[in-house]
Amino acid sequence: MPEYPQLVFAGTDGGAVLSLAEYEARGGLTALRKARAMEPDAVIAELEASGLRGRGGAFFPTGRKWAFVPKPDQLAKPHYLVVNADESEPGTFKDREIILRVPFRFLEGCLIAAHAISSQHVFVYIRGEYEREFEVLRDALDQLRRGGHLGGVTVVLHRGAGAYICGEETALLESLEGKRGQPRTKPPFPAVAGLYAAPTAVNNVESITTVTCVLELGGAEYAKLGTPGSSGTRVFSLSGNVANPGNYELPHGISLRELIYDVGGGVPGGRELKAVIPGGSSTPILTAADIDTPLDFDSLVQAGSSIGSAGVIVIDDRCCLVQLGIRVSQFYEHESCGKCTPCRVGTRWLTQILQKIEDGRASQADLDLLLSVCDRILGKCLCPLGDSDAIAVASYVAKFRDEFQAHVDLGRCPFGGVSSLEGILAPAALHGRHTHAPEVARA
């Protein structure tokens, strides 16, 4: 496997750096000192120069986001930095490894970001299921505090309690304010009225960790890595039917083939590659034919998908795409916050229609209905969660129409009970097995 430049995971030799002394010995905290010697605007300029864009999924330029945060003299309220460590997008598990292996680089990034937006208060919203990760961060934070490196900034580790939607930035803020994690309408945007209606920057763990790297290298240097539109490295989460799953820090622009075959060791058990979900379950599916697509923002848009959270899910030829649709739709149904109508009702309806198709009870009209319901969800919801379900399911039909058609024509699943997803159970509170009619949710 070829050598790739390591920035986020630099200095770990594949392991973890959990002591501040060791981190500093390897040049840690130099970026923070450098940043604190600079004017906040100068830090933001470095970020703009680096071309760093958000790693949480929306790919929004990090420097520009910070530039939107009013200056203290423009808005007297306290300013907040909120770090999104809620990592819940299926296929994505990079932030977790970053926290476990380079907690100091991450926290250093937090302090740099706080300086850049003149914030004294950092909240790290970490998903409740990340027990160990929370402990590692808490310990690292203690070391920094004892070392007197916080510079008057308070850093609070706030644990979620199991709700995917709290990864959406405004839902996250609601949750952090002690409410149900339901997204807010925008405008106003968090940069102006976020946490407690005060100016707030919300950034992903990997974005923040990369901020440290950007300041170490300098923005211009960093921009040389990756592609013009998608600068720098990216921690790709590789999972599914692949020989060597895991997180790999690679420059933007390497191809799916390189990732899955050169790095990931290919599809095991002599199976055929059938499909790839390139950016977490919310992104449109690609087929084996797209295998040479470069993994950067623009190339994936061209290929009709999105880089999303860079969670690459490899799917071999044993998988029934209708079953995949059901399982993905079940996820969004289960995670819908219930605030807006199309998402709350539509995701459940999609699951039911897919179920009917899988059971062989569907007519041609049901297939049309499926796409029509996708269409009626799309672009009508309060936040992108509902859209994600519709986009994913519609893409399965678009790319594997024949397989859906076969279910209708044969009046049964063509995989005859041997699909790799056969009978897979979703969270029991909500669903029975595929082969049963969907159980009706009860209070």
């Binding site: 199309p342 009702v345 459940r348 009626r376 309060l382 009706v440």
Partner: protein
């Protein structure tokens, strides 16, 4: 509200094919409406705080924006071009989609739904909805209908999760009792455990609900919308005078709805105003005259009754005392006065507490409270118990960032009972920082909530000392104990002139109305009277003491006017015919026998009294939403009869000393003859409870929930203790109806403890 606010800047927006100019910051929904174009909504309700954007009914297409937008969440921008379903296929598709999704789980049981015929969901489905359903799966089935309280039923299958009810609970009533639970498709409206939604304002969620999910248990299946008519009148359950309409079917009141007077109630009602109407059909309602006979009260004919009344009056001439209720119409009080004062020189009366006219100089609409920056509340009674809607205005003020300072026994500045007047004097003297802020503010409001204080006279003096006359944004309110005390007092005074003389030997006591009939003072006076004539609605209030009883009508059965706490003259309209003649009819007959000529109807009486009281303001001019009279020049009120005794110091902070506590009685909102006659309101009435401060509880070894004995020489009552961290030490607060005969200072002991001690002794 603030006079200093500059004229708003206008922006030009296009809806479909129409262009309008509206102030910057106007919501899209309102702006469209001003262009005569509808943007349909479900969850949007500006009174519930910032827009939610949940239901997606309001999707519109906006030029330059790729996606459909939730119109309710946006405000107008210069040059904006908005297309609704009328001209945008995309928007129409979006709205049809939303409705299809909403209907996916809706039971479509309109024929058996109370909302049927007046249901936004029904209407919008008809106008924007899909013709047929494409949903072939089992709908979500949920428990239905479940009681949210004895007053409200919830049908979860009909609920479209617009979150109006929960937002009302959290953002308006601020009670946090009605909430959404679970997530996603399983989200549902609920209370905690099976506790009832016990808020003085709970009924508003019924009107807010855009479907038939929240319905009134008193109204369910009572009427279909096409069989009813609505009569606009005003509520006289408290001095706020909310504007209401009474829904009538077959001569019976079926429900009370808000009629939204933006300056008074903003469309909210309290549950007392909304749910007490069934008292009109109470079992012990009196419909015919009664006289005392051998076997207690016996029905008599009207002729006999009027003969007897005439006889009693002639008999007692010169020694008659009249007790009036503050819930009378001004016309009824005036008519009574014309007969008794004009015809019989009976000038002495027990009048309800009346608001001091000195406050007319500081008049403001209640809505001004919401936009105030500084509010000071004084007095012993919780605002919600005297004038509930004022409590909502205060909450809104606080939400909008106003500083609200409450000087009361359980206020932000804990103040001993009766301490209000002293605070007024201090603030008037003006040394404190607060006094300085009051002087400087352009939007400051004073509120007096409680007895004493000269009916707001002390407050008026304070407002004057602060120079409020000259600041149109500053004002003062007195929250009187009765709905129309001022109107009644004015009418009584205006009807005739003649000196009030002290009557030692009361030959006849005339008691008019249920408040008077229920008042202990009046009962006490009756002990001294040879004869008692009572005009009341209920046997319960007549039995035992009356020699002659004449049936009274209820507020919903009357025409007339009442003056609310702002000093606004509002019009009551007869919603249903009374089961007995109107008071004014027999009063004019009775008056005729004394040569007094009285019109037998409110309009006529009003015409007379308007000349004395309201500068001949014609009845019609009052209209459906009464205007607020102009401020009057300040006239110094009469000084307090006696200098208010300085509030007694709370017992010394000595660990072992367990002193007596001052009894603080209050009249709960949910009390009185009407409330007592509506079983469904029972759960709203105050528990048999004694509130005391943590320190006083500790010293007596009392914890919340403990049974306690309250004693004052001679009498005692058993109650449950509630330790109230906000209550000033040295005080025990008990609702009037549970305080019995207790005196001003009481001893409070834990019952269990006392038992233990006794055992030890034996």
């Amino acid at each position: 509200m603030s006079a200093s606010s500059p004229a708003p800047e206008l922006v030009t927006v296009t809806f479909d094919d129409r262009t309008v100019s509206v102030p910057r910051g106007t919501g899209l929904v309102e702006a469209a409406a001003s262009a005569g174009i509808e943007i349909p909504v479900f969850c949007y309700e500006p009174r519930l705080g910032p827009p939610l954007g949940a239901c997606r009914m309001c999707l519109v297409e906006i030029e330059g924006m790729p996606k459909l937008q939730a119109g309710c969440t946006l405000t107008v921008q210069e040059g904006m071009v908005v297309r609704t379903a009328a001209t945008s296929a995309k928007a129409a598709e979006g709205q049809e989609a939303t409705l299809e999704f909403i209907l996916v789980n809706h039971p479509l049981d309109c024929p058996v739904c109370d909302k049927g015929g007046e249901c936004p969901l029904q209407d919008l489905t008809f106008r924007y909805g899909p013709g047929r359903t494409r949903m072939s799966f089992s709908k979500l089935t949920l428990d239905k209908p479940i009681p949210v309280s004895p007053l409200i039923a919830l049908d979860r299958e009909r609920c479209i999760l617009c979150y109006r009810c929960t937002r009302f609970s959290e953002e308006v009533a601020e009670d946090g009792l009605l909430v959404a639970r679970n997530r996603g498709a399983r989200t549902e409206i609920a209370t905690f455990e099976d506790e009832p939604y016990r808020s003085p304002f709970s009924g508003n969620v019924i009107e807010l609900c855009p479907v038939g999910a929240l319905t009134s248990t008193l109204y369910r299946f009572e009427a279909r919308p096409w069989e009813i008519q609505d009569v606009p009148t005003v509520c006289t359950a408290c001095p706020v005078g909310c504007n209401v309409s009474a829904t009538i079917r077959e001569g019976k009141v079926k429900r009370i709805l808000s009629r939204n007077h933006p300056e008074i109630d903003r469309g909210w009602l309290c549950d007392k105003g909304r749910f007490t109407y069934p008292h009109l059909r109470a079992e012990d309602r009196i419909t015919a005259p009664l006289r005392r006979g051998r076997k207690g009260l016996e029905e008599v004919s009207w002729d006999e009754a009027l003969d007897l009344a005439e006889a009693l009056l002639r008999e007692a001439r010169g020694s008659i005392v009249t007790a009036l209720s503050g819930s009378e119409t001004t016309e009824l009080a005036y008519a009574l006065a014309r007969l008794l004062r004009g015809g019989l020189d009976a000038h002495s009366a027990l009048l309800p507490e009346a608001t001091s006219s000195a406050l007319d100089a500081f008049r403001l609409p209640l809505s001004a409270i919401a936009s105030a920056e500084l509010v000071v509340v004084l007095g012993d009674d919780p605002v919600v118990e005297r004038a509930p809607i004022v409590d909502l205005w205060l909450k809104e003020a606080r939400r909008r960032g106003a500083e609200v300072v409450v000087y009361s026994p359980s206020g932000t500045v804990p103040t001993p009972p009766g301490g209000g007047a002293a605070v007024c004097a201090e603030l008037a003297a003006g040394r404190s920082a607060l006094a300085r802020r009051l002087r400087a503010s352009e939007r400051a409001v004073l509120v007096w909530s409680g007895p004493g204080g000269g009916g707001g006279a002390r407050l008026a003096e304070l407002a004057h000392a602060l120079g409020f006359e000259d600041r149109p944004g500053c004002g003062a309110f007195h929250l009187p104990a009765t709905p129309n005390g001022k109107g009644v007092a004015l009418a009584w005074a205006a009807a005739a002139d003649g000196e009030e003389v002290e009557v030692e030997h009361v030959k006849l006591l005339v008691v008019s109305g249920d408040d008077a009939a229920a008042s202990p003072d009046v009962r006490a006076l009756a002990e001294r009277a040879d004869a008692v004539l009572v005009v009341t609605m209920f046997h319960g209030l007549a039995g035992g003491w009356a020699d002659l009883v004449l049936p009274a009508t209820g507020a919903l059965e009357r025409d007339g006017t009442a003056m609310n706490l702002e000093g606004r003259v509002q019009r009551l309209r007869r919603a249903v015919p009374p089961p007995c003649p109107d008071e004014l009819v027999w009063l004019s007959q009775l008056s005729a026998r004394f040569g007094i000529d009285l019109p037998p109807h409110a309009a006529g009486v009003y015409a007379e009294l308007a000349a004395h009281l309201f500068r001949d303001l014609p009845l019609e001019a009052i209209g459906l939403r009464a205007p607020l009279p102009a401020r009057q020049p300040y006239e110094a009120p009469p000084p307090p009869a006696a200098v208010p005794a300085a509030p007694a110091p709370a017992p010394a902070a000595d660990e072992h000393f367990v002193g007596e506590l001052r009894l603080l009685r209050y009249r709960p909102l949910f009390s009185g003859p009407a409330v007592e006659r509506v079983p469904e309101l029972g759960f709203q009435r105050p528990p048999r409870e004694l509130e005391l401060a943590p320190r006083d509880a500790e010293r007596r070894g009392i914890a919340t929930g403990d049974p306690v004995l309250a004693r004052s020489n001679g009498t005692s009552v058993e109650l449950r203790a509630r330790v109230n961290g906000r209550l000033v030490p040295g005080v025990a607060r008990i609702a009037d109806e549970h305080a019995g005969e207790l005196h001003a200072t009481i001893e409070v002991t834990a019952l269990a403890l006392r038992g233990a001690v006794r055992e030890a002794d034996e």
